[in-house]
Symmetry: C2
Subunit: 160 residues, 2 copies
């Protein structure tokens, strides 16, 4: 191992690239996610940075979970289900990570100027978007290994 | 569209979850990426948050590009190649995004306590890791649409 700096925290200014717009109430986002169509309205100062993004069918959206509550510990039952094994938050896709950054791979339906129409973005209305990246073949691992409890709950069309 | 707050910037403290350890020099990381094995040493205070992560074959690593230079504009030629069309930085996977957050889907080879051994992490030695998420079937879109110039340069084994 090499010499590396310490493991504390650091202060940064995050640019708000844009915000999520949806009429779906916060409490209904997770349940409706799979067919949910939202819009990301990108700040005009970053509109040029979208040039060419419409050539991609999917994008990765990073967003700031501004309504996440601080975690009371680093172990949770996945999906809040006490029948599932206690799991570290970094081994799950819940909201209670040390840094509240959300990540979703979404369908890019269309770009209208500085607005992106997307499907499957599980973010609340008004959520700040902090990064957008195109999804490409290097992000594809066709059949990842996952825990048994996760695989057992996969809907059939997603398992292929 | 709903009423949403303004599109400026905001100050946050980011926790350093861990740091990347590699003996490969910065200038060789991109070239060697596909077979590169690195270690992520997670801060002891977050070690418990890794519980169960070894059940996944891939993880998504978010890291802070602490050596990225500020962009001089939002349009670039992909891979610095002037033969490729000018593209917005948010439509590319380069380092000059408005927020310097790197993202890599990597193979999780093994967990040794609070150290994760990974393959394909294109991050320099000492890079702060700000989030780790397990990769699962909802992240898989087997044949994404990408620009023609990208597809033409895909190595054959990645195209399937």
């Amino acid at each position: 191992m090499n010499n590396v700096p310490p493991l504390d925290a650091f202060a940064v200014n995050l640019e708000i690239i844009g915000r999520v717009h949806t009429t779906v109430p916060d409490d209904d986002i997770a349940r409706t996610r799979r067919e949910l169509v939202s819009h990301i309205v990108v700040a005009p100062r970053f509109a040029e940075a979208l040039t060419g993004i419409e050539a991609y069918s999917q994008i990765i959206v990073l967003f700031w979970l501004d309504r996440a509550r601080p975690s009371e510990g680093w172990l949770t039952h996945p999906r809040g289900n006490p029948d599932l094994p206690l799991t570290g938050v970094l081994a799950g896709r819940g909201r209670a990570h040390p840094n509240p950054v959300g990540l979703a791979v979404v369908d890019l339906i269309a770009r209208h100027g500085n607005t992106l129409e997307v499907r499957r973005l599980d973010a609340f209305n008004g959520t700040p978007v902090i990064d957008i990246k195109p999804y490409d073949h290097f992000d594809v691992y066709p059949d990842p290994r996952v825990p048994a409890w996760f695989r057992a709950r996969l809907p059939a069309p997603q398992a292929t």
